[in-house]
Every structure is written in structure tokens, then in C-alpha cells.
């Protein structure tokens, strides 16, 4: 008997089985969202204290299978096989048993102790489904606990079963399940051949993966004898079945899971169309669906910007009072100014984060938890495909309108590195809340709201065209959308708030140091009277090519810090907020255009760096600077001719 007081467990399951709800209930605020070392895949960990045990819980990403299709899948299987958690909680949706079983079967092959949480057990009644879970327990040879994650039901029982498993020193799971004879025979042969190879993975699992032509495992084994034997066995299998061997095994799994299902599941009454299904039909309708989508998104933007505007102006008042007090206490000296610029950076972050990002996140996660975002992806997929990404990419892009930083971070929902990078690049072109301040405050106010909206339209067209071009240039195939369409459900407020909180924490961690440091540097340059010098240096671009006043050089440098500074400093340097006195409409439109595209702000650069590495960040930044200058110059020249 093992008497360990510290346990390591993982939650594994497909997407949309209620895994994160269970994770949140188990760990509450004792959780930490980080990254897998060197990977852009999120790693959610938490700790829980239960019956004298300190249990570290790891929430693996929601995945469909344990093949090497996506980073998430690779990471998950490696973790389970190599790190050998004490036990695995496999969260399975009772409403989706057959497909979930396909994943469970693969999980069992990794031979760790497993408890199955048969989640959403309350929902199958409405669907007229009966599941004999005791029978299922017998067939799979794993403890199964029916749970209702949203109501916390069954969760302690899951933990109890897991702890019991360890106590009974069931360090390995013994599967009773067998594939078809032809496949099993070949697995046996390979297991014998693998006997002398040292590896952390279970031998049977390796054999299966080799027969499935798993590239990562072939590399791991790297033994010509075994690999050529594998090839021979694969050829035999393919001859018998007339399919690719990987398909043969996938079909074996399908067959096994449908056999199991036949024994444990009964459909007792025909399905009735529920209210949530009716609503689901309306929201993916070819006319009403789009109307509802536009309405919901507009409402979201309007309410976030209304609230943000009100709240940030209130915060600004508090902030400016702070500055006078600071000057009164420390006097006006170089050191005090530098220190103040550091503090100002923090205040600025608070002024953006609290009023804009928090409400944006809250609404977005609410929509996600409710099940709506999947509909948006469904409706926009064909449009997104034209710019080389699929429907899920619209979520980072929408986020980008609030702030590019979380938008970049959310690109992780895309499956492959290529898609992540492409989406990340496109989100940095989306006009964020700060750019909206410039567009509205400059163009909207002084040139006309039509021109302001025109700029937005222009941004969308640019994103579209650049996306199309980038997807052609980037190597690799575009991935197709495969997505679960969750049924609408009541959003879980706790999940929404926790999600918001953890994302916000991350935003602050990434953005604060960059904003503070670059703020201090720019303040130092200002104190050394370097700003006019820079303005002069940039004047061939700003004055000659773009036709802007030379002080805009200073603005564009400051704007890297926070884009709305462009407008704020314009007022300070020009000594007026009535910009029409000092700038022509064409100049205003040009300045807004440059601000929109010329470079991601420092916080976004930091986020890009974190997600994609410095090389790609540099490429994006340099490209956008060139692009913005070229396009704004051309447009400025065209407009000057047209305006007269």
C-alpha cells in the first residue's frame, strides 16, 4: 500500500464535456494558467486539499484523439505516459457517449489508473437516453462515477474512487478490450520486438501507434529492425483490409465503441425538439443567424465602449489628481519625472484594463459558456476561409477590437502553428479600443462619422487582403474546421468570472514590465530634449511623404507605448483640442490611418513575442511599419488631389 500524501492527477477529455467546470469546482482560486514549456499551449494547473491529500490537478487541453494531429494532443499523451500522474480523471459527456468512448479507449491504452466521470448525467434523461453505467464499468474495467459538473454532484466520489484505485496499488490499468484478431496478432508480434527497447511508454501502446504510422513514435523508437518489421506488418494489414493501416485501427476503435454502446445504452423515447434546439436553429439560420450575430456583436461593442468611456474618464480624473500630488511632494526633478513616468505606465494599464478589457472578457466568456461563440464560428467560417483561416479565428479577431493583447493570446484556439501565426498577425491589424479613440476623436469628430466608419471598413478590407496573401505565402496546408456545436446552456457565472480573472492576470503580467520600461526610456529621451531631434529625423517620412506636421514624428514614437497617446499628445503639443484649427481633414485621415496599422503597441509586441518568438514578432512589426507608411502616403496623395 502506498501512503503518499501528495497526489498528481490530470483531467482529460474531449472538448465540450464540461471539463473546465469540473476543474474550476475542484481547484477554485488555487489555480494557475501558464504555458507548456516552449509551447503555445495553455497549461492550467491547480491544487486541491481533500481528505488529508494535497492533490495537484492538471487540466489537459480538450482534444479529440491522442494522435499527433495537434500540439495539444501530442502534449497530452506525452504527459500522461511520461510524467505518469497518479490517476487520470477522464471526463466523458453522457450525452455524447459513443464519440467520447473513442477517446477513452485511446486513453486506456496509455495504461494509467483511470476514473471516468460520466458528466452531464442529468441531461440524458431529457434526451430519452438510458445508460447502464455499472455495465460500462465492467466492460471497460474502470470505475465510473456519474457526475453533474455544473451542480458539483459526484465530484467527491470521483476523487474517492481515484484514491481507492491507488490504495489498491493498481499502478497500471489492465484492459480487457481487444481489437480484431488480425490487428491483435500484429500488436503481439510488435510487443515482443519492443521488449528490449527502453522507453517510458507502455509497450502495447507503442505497438498500436507504430501500426498507426505515428511519425512521432517512429522517431522515438528509431530502431531499423523494429521499423522494418512494422512496415511488413502494416503491409499485411493493408492487404487484408484494403485501407490505410491507420484507418484500420481507427475503425477497430469505432467498432469496439459501438459494440460497447449497444450493450450499455438504450434510447427510450424519441427526441423532442427542445427550446434550446429551437434557439440553436434560429441562431444558425441563414438570415436570422446573421442578423442576431450582428446585433449581439454590436451590442457588445457599444456597451463595452460606453461603459469603458465613462469609467476611464472617471479613472483619469483620479489619475490626474495623483500627478499634481506627486509633483507637490517630490518637486520637479529629473528623477521624479522618470519615476512618475513609470507610475504613469501602471496607471495607464489600469485605465485600459479595468474599463475596457474586463467587461469585454466578461461578455465574451459569457457568450462562450452559453454556447454562442461556436455559432459565430459556424456562420463566419466560409468568410474566414477566404483569408486562409477557419471559423474559429473570428474569436481572436473580435477580441482584437477590444485589445490586441488578449486577442494574440487567444490565437491558441487555432489547431496548428501556421493558423496561430496567421491569426495572430491579422489580429494586430484590428483597430483596438485605443485606435478607436483616435479614429473617433480625430476623424469622427472633425471630418465626419462617415469617414470614420470608412476607415473601419478599410481596415477590414486590408485584413482580408493581407490574410489572403499571407495564407498563400506561409508554407503548409490550411486546416479545416472541425468543431463541436455545443447545445445552449445556462452560463456558469463562476467559470466566466474565473476565466476573466486568470486572463486579466496574464495580461497584466505581460504588459506591465514592457509599458513601464519603455515609458521610462521615452521620458528620458524627452528630458534630454531628444524628441524634436527624432521629429526632425522622421520628417522625410512624416512631412514629405505623408504630408503631416513634423510633430507627428513625436506622436508616432509615443504611440508605440499606447496608441491613444497619439491623440492625447497631439492636443498637448498643439495646445488645442480643436484639431480642425491645426490640421486639414486629409492630414487627420492620414494620421488615423498610420496609427491604425503602423506597429502593434509595446504590450502587443510583448504578447506576440511570448506567443511566436522574437523573429516572427520582428517580421510583423517591420512589415506593419512599412505597410502603414506606404498605404497612408498613397491614400493621402489621392485624397489631396480629390479634396481640392
Amino acid at each position: 500500500m502506498r501512503n503518499k500524501k501528495k497526489l498528481n492527477i490530470v483531467l482529460a477529455g474531449q472538448a465540450n464535456v464540461g471539463k473546465s467546470v469540473i476543474f474550476n469546482h475542484l481547484t477554485g482560486l488555487h489555480q494557475h494558467i501558464g504555458n507548456w514549456a516552449g509551447k503555445t499551449v495553455e497549461k492550467a494547473e491547480g491544487t486541491l486539499f481533500y481528505k488529508g491529500y494535497s492533490i495537484d490537478v492538471l487540466d489537459l487541453p480538450g482534444i479529440y484523439s491522442l494522435t499527433t494531429y495537434s500540439l495539444e494532443e501530442l502534449i497530452s499523451r506525452e504527459y500522461i505516459a511520461v510524467q505518469k500522474p497518479d490517476f487520470v480523471i477522464n471526463v466523458v459527456s453522457a450525452t455524447n457517449l459513443e464519440r467520447n468512448l473513442l477517446f477513452t479507449l485511446q486513453l486506456l491504452e496509455l495504461e494509467r489508473p483511470i476514473v471516468i466521470a460520466l458528466n452531464m448525467f442529468d441531461l440524458i434523461k431529457h434526451k430519452g437516453i438510458e445508460i447502464d453505467f455499472q455495465k460500462l464499468e465492467e466492460l471497460l474495467n474502470v470505475p465510473i462515477v456519474p457526475t453533474i459538473g455544473a451542480q458539483r454532484k459526484g465530484l467527491t466520489k470521483v476523487l474517492d474512487s481515484g484514491i481507492k484505485l491507488i490504495r489498491n496499488s493498481a499502478s497500471k490499468h489492465k484492459s480487457l478490450l481487444k481489437y480484431g484478431k488480425e490487428v491483435e496478432e500484429r500488436i503481439e508480434v510488435l510487443i515482443k520486438d519492443l521488449a528490449n527497447i527502453k522507453t517510458l511508454y507502455p509497450k502495447r501502446w507503442l505497438a498500436i501507434k507504430l501500426l498507426e504510422k505515428d511519425k512521432a513514435i517512429e522517431m522515438l523508437i528509431n530502431n531499423t529492425g523494429v521499423l522494418s518489421k512494422t512496415k511488413k506488418l502494416i503491409n499485411e494489414l493493408e492487404k487484408i483490409h484494403g485501407h490505410d493501416s491507420s484507418i484500420v485501427i481507427a475503425q477497430e476503435r469505432c467498432f469496439l465503441s459501438s459494440q460497447i454502446l449497444q450493450k450499455v445504452m438504450k434510447i427510450t423515447k424519441p427526441k423532442k425538439i427542445t427550446l434550446s434546439e429551437k434557439w440553436g436553429n434560429v441562431t444558425s439560420h441563414k438570415f436570422w443567424g446573421y442578423l442576431i450575430m450582428v446585433t449581439i456583436l454590436l451590442l457588445m461593442f457599444l456597451s463595452v465602449f460606453q461603459f469603458g468611456d465613462w469609467f476611464s474618464s472617471m479613472l483619469e480624473k483620479i489619475g490626474s489628481g495623483f500627478h499634481t500630488k506627486w509633483d507637490a511632494v517630490f518637486g520637479v526633478s529629473v528623477l521624479a519625472s522618470l519615476a512618475w513616468s513609470a507610475i504613469e505606465g501602471v496607471i495607464a494599464l489600469i485605465e485600459i484594463a479595468l474599463p475596457y478589457i474586463i467587461p469585454f472578457y466578461l461578455i465574451l466568456f459569457l457568450l462562450e459558456d452559453w454556447g454562442y461563440l461556436a455559432r459565430v464560428a459556424f456562420l463566419t467560417d466560409s468568410f474566414m476561409h477566404r483569408m486562409g483561416v477557419h471559423g474559429k479565428a473570428c474569436i481572436p479577431l473580435i477580441l482584437g477590437f477590444g485589445c490586441n493583447v488578449p486577442a494574440c493570446l487567444s490565437c491558441r484556439i487555432m489547431e496548428t502553428e501556421r493558423e496561430r501565426f496567421l491569426t495572430g498577425f491579422l489580429t494586430t491589424l484590428v483597430p483596438c479600443a485605443a485606435v478607436t479613440v483616435i479614429i473617433m476623436g480625430l476623424v469622427g469628430k472633425f471630418v465626419g462619422i462617415g469617414w470614420a466608419l470608412g476607415l473601419y471598413l478599410f481596415a477590414i478590407i486590408v485584413i482580408f487582403i493581407l490574410g489572403k496573401i499571407a495564407s498563400k505565402i506561409l508554407p503548409g496546408e490550411p486546416t479545416e474546421l472541425i468543431m463541436e456545436m455545443p447545445e445552449y446552456k445556462q452560463p456558469n457565472l463562476k467559470t466566466v468570472i474565473l476565466q476573466t480573472w486568470f486572463r486579466l492576470k496574464k495580461f497584466i503580467c505581460i504588459a506591465t514590465p514592457v509599458v513601464v520600461i519603455s515609458g521610462v526610456i521615452i521620458e528620458a529621451v524627452r528630458l534630454l530634449n531628444g524628441l524634436p531631434f527624432i521629429a526632425n529625423l522622421l520628417s522625410p517620412i512624416t512631412v514629405n511623404w505623408l504630408g503631416l506636421p513634423s510633430i507627428t514624428g513625436i506622436l508616432l514614437i509615443l504611440g508605440i507605448l499606447r496608441k491613444e497617446l497619439i491623440l492625447v499628445m497631439l492636443a498637448t503639443l498643439m495646445g488645442t483640442t480643436n484639431f480642425i484649427e491645426v490640421m486639414t481633414p486629409v492630414q487627420m485621415i492620414t494620421l488615423a490611418l498610420v496609427s491604425m496599422f503602423y506597429i502593434p503597441c509595446v504590450a502587443t509586441i510583448a504578447a506576440l513575442w511570448k506567443e511566436f518568438g522574437w523573429k516572427k514578432t520582428l517580421i510583423i512589426s517591420l512589415f506593419e511599419i512599412t505597410f502603414a507608411i506606404v498605404i497612408a502616403g498613397i491614400i493621402s496623395k489621392i485624397l489631396t488631389i480629390l479634396w481640392i
Binding site: 464519440r99 491507420s246 465503441s257
Partner: protein, 82 residues
């Protein structure tokens, strides 16, 4: 006797049985992992407008597939019993 068509040619509420998947090994494997391989019976729930994705039902569960992927699936129509 039974005509074979692409999954994308079926209309909502029509049912089909997968005959084969035409794509490369990657797409085929991906679909098989989801439970979509020859013999699986599929019902079309909805087709998104503008050649968007297709929502299908199989094994009591629903999934959305991109149109490109769906157009690689060859099916034969199952006539409704009712």
C-alpha cells in the same frame, strides 16, 4: 442501384452512409478518429450559407465540419424508413 455522392450534396434531414473518404491520409485519419469512417451513418442537420460548414449528426452527437473536409466524404443516401 444506390448513387454515391459527396456529403456536401446531401440536403438537411437527408441521411447517408459513408462509403469512403477521398482525402489524404491526414484528413482520413482525423475523420476516423472522430468516428467518421466507412459505414458510419450521418444525418445532415444544417448547411451554413455561402458554402459554409456543415453540421452533421452521427451517433447521437453533433459536429460541425468545414465544407472542404465534408466534400471529401463520399456517401450513399439512406432512404427514410418512415
Amino acid at each position: 442501384m444506390e448513387k454515391e455522392l459527396l456529403l456536401t450534396d446531401l440536403e438537411p434531414n437527408q441521411k447517408g452512409e459513408i462509403v469512403s473518404v477521398l482525402g489524404g491520409a491526414m484528413a482520413t485519419k482525423r475523420l476516423a478518429d472522430l468516428g467518421l469512417s466507412s459505414g458510419t451513418k450521418i444525418k445532415i442537420i444544417k448547411k451554413a450559407p455561402f458554402s459554409g460548414p456543415i453540421k452533421i449528426e452521427f451517433y447521437e452527437s453533433r459536429l460541425v465540419l468545414g465544407r472542404g473536409l465534408a466534400s471529401k466524404i463520399l456517401v450513399k443516401i439512406i432512404q427514410n424508413e418512415e
